[in-house]
């Protein structure tokens, strides 16, 4: 019979092995992508060169300076940033209203809003096409941003509400007794306390609009207006795919997100736990 400590050691070892394995699976494809991005065309097709014997930065140079890639990147940043800001402002307002005032059927409203997240994108996409055509918003960022809001807003509202409701009303009250105005007490108390949660909510909005492909591919026609996900397909040519270029574009597009992630990683779990657990 194993004693308690041995049991614990085995469990720890199992946890380590499992975690390391999962980390490997998570990261390995990306590592291979980086390796490919550093290869020349011949090296990519050479099975002996899985790990390249020499590296080239030509692919990166080409992607940055000789393609529309940077433009697509900036387009995506713009669309994503605007979507995130709109969503955050709307959901902070809504969450403040829902949690700090007595609203009839507040719980139902929250749930109903979250449920709209369940509408399949394609079911909305078809009427959107007709609506956007009517308002001449096809091939425009406004149309795209509006559509992006449709799937980022529900979660943003729901998560922000969950956060605000964890903040005790007394905190604000005491701030107001100290002579703060309601607006000031909002910024100094709620905003401050809920910061990690708002951060994470913003990250979710950012991620899901950055990730979006279908709407962008249907509704944006002009080359220079393309988003990065759609623009990436440029490297898949009519008669050939330049894997080196494609993979270096992938690498460049991921660097900022990964950096951002590493920065907020700590907030991520903290930011979700309040919302998810007590939601």
């Amino acid at each position: 019979m194993l004693n308690k400590k041995q049991k614990k050691n085995i469990r720890m070892a199992g946890a380590y092995i499992f975690t390391v394995l999962m980390v490997f699976i998570a990261v390995a494809p990306f590592v291979y992508v980086v390796l490919t991005a550093l290869k020349t065309q011949e090296q990519i097709y050479d099975p002996k060169q899985i790990i390249p014997t020499y590296v080239t930065f030509e692919n990166f140079r080409h992607v940055i300076f000789e393609s529309n890639f940077v433009r697509y990147f900036m387009n995506s940043i713009f669309i994503t940033a605007v979507t995130t800001v709109i969503c955050m402002v709307l959901s902070v307002m809504a969450a403040y209203g829902l949690t700090r005032y007595r609203i009839l059927g507040a719980g139902k409203i929250k749930m109903a809003v979250l449920m709209t997240r369940m509408f399949p994108g394609i079911l909305l996409c078809i009427p959107y096409y007709i609506i956007m055509k009517h308002f001449q918003l096809i091939d425009s960022y406004v149309g795209l941003i509006l559509m992006y809001c449709s799937f980022t807003l529900p979660f943003a509202i729901w998560n922000t509400c969950a956060f605000f409701s964890t903040i005790p009303w007394e905190l604000e009250e005491s701030a107001m007794i100290d002579g703060c105005s309601r607006l000031r007490s909002f910024f100094s108390v709620i905003f401050y306390v809920a910061k990690p949660g708002l951060f994470v909510t913003a990250l979710f909005c950012f991620m899901s609009s950055w990730d979006e492909y279908m709407y962008a591919s249907i509704f944006i026609n002009t080359t220079l207006k393309k988003t990065i996900q759609v623009g990436m397909q440029d490297f898949i040519g009519q008669y050939s795919v330049d894997w080196g270029l494609l993979m270096s574009a992938v690498v460049i597009s991921l660097v900022p997100i990964l950096l951002f992630f590493a920065l907020v990683q700590k907030n991520l779990v903290e930011g979700l736990s309040a919302g998810a657990v007590k939601g």
Binding site: G14, A15, Y16, F18, T19, V20, M22, V23, A26, P29, F30, V33, I50, L90, M93, A94, Y96, G97, L98, Y101, R102, I103, L104, I109, V113, M118, F119, P120, G121, I122, L123, C125, P127, Y129, I130, I131, L146, S150, L153, P154, I157, M207, W210, Y213, M214, Q229, W243, M247, V250, L254, I257, F261, K266, L268, V269, E270, A274, G275, A276, V277
Partner: protein
């Protein structure tokens, strides 16, 4: 009755700034989600084939014609089966793997924060990019998977993973799982970290095994966030359009066609909005039923 109305009126008066703050968000949700939803459902009962705009029946009421059409389509029936398979496989594997991973990461491992960051990499990778990356890895001629498998002697000749009916589905599932685990995991982990440690201590004194602890204490506590996370994940899985579309386009021979890709094909390749809307309504019903069943299962355990 009268008194009640009066009270509601009073409350409304007192809380009107709250309603005002709520209004823009509600208006946005109404115009951006609710209205298109009903418009979409309406379209499914209308003849709306954009390829034939000059037909006299264009934009007229079609009754159940669109539904009859899609249910007569073998590809559609096949895609329903694929959707069920796709959803179950993805959901179960992701849930189990994410749960294990979250439990492991909740232990006091050395370098935990490094693991945690690295585990999130697949989530940060956009779907379209993941699809392109894995297409490259699966490639029969230059893909590393074939190169390694041949080198290790697992297979004698390169296999076209995404080109064969048997393997394509599982290869795409693998990508969806790879991409989906972190999302689910981070929610579970967040919930786990909200559990105070002393809950376990008393249980351990009672002599409960680790498994019993998990089943009796951990699971009930994290049940609600877990349900929300799973539903969100389910939505992601069912609408996992990018991965499938960019990797196989629903092929080979529609073996990876799910309802979502079918509806997309009808709408934006064949340009028949009527049947496409009908297919998406079926997809919506599927999602609602699936989450309904799931929610019931969760609440029954109580």
């Amino acid at each position: 009755m009268g008194r009640k109305q009066k009270r509601a009126g009073l409350e409304l008066k007192k809380n009107w700034p709250g309603y005002l703050l709520l209004a823009p968000a509600v208006a946005a949700v109404l115009t951006l989600s609710i209205y298109p939803l009903f418009r979409g459902i309406y379209l499914s009962f209308v003849n709306y084939n954009l390829v034939r705009p000059k037909d006299s029946i264009f934009n007229t009421f079609a009754g159940l014609e669109n539904y009859k059409n899609i249910f007569a389509n073998k590809i559609f029936l096949q895609s329903i089966g694929n959707t069920v398979k796709w959803t179950l496989v993805n959901l179960v594997i992701q849930l189990v793997a994410a749960m294990l991973l979250a439990l492991a990461l909740n232990m006091k491992l050395k370098g935990r924060s490094v693991y945690r960051t690295l585990i999130l990499v697949p989530w940060a990778v956009p779907h379209a990019i993941a699809a392109m990356t894995f297409t490259f890895l699966y490639n029969a001629n230059v893909g590393i998977i074939n190169i390694l498998a041949v080198k290790l002697g697992a297979i004698t000749e390169s296999i076209s993973w995404l080109g064969n009916i048997g393997s394509a589905f599982w290869c795409v599932v693998l990508v969806a799982i790879w991409k989906g685990i972190p999302f689910q995991m981070i929610f579970i982990l967040a919930a786990l970290q909200g559990i105070p440690g002393d809950v376990y201590e008393s249980a351990e004194i009672d002599g409960a095994s680790r498994f019993q602890c998990f089943w009796r204490i951990t699971l009930p506590i994290i049940k609600e966030p877990l349900a929300i996370a799973t539903i969100l994940n389910l939505i992601g899985i069912v609408s996992c359009f990018n991965t499938i579309w960019l990797m196989t386009g629903g092929g080979p021979l529609y073996s990876t066609e799910i309802l979502y890709t079918f509806a997309y094909r009808e709408a934006f390749i064949n340009h028949n909005f009527g049947t496409a809307a009908a297919a998406s309504v079926i997809l919506f019903i599927f999602m609602a039923v699936f989450s309904g069943i799931y929610l019931r299962m969760v609440s029954e355990k109580e």
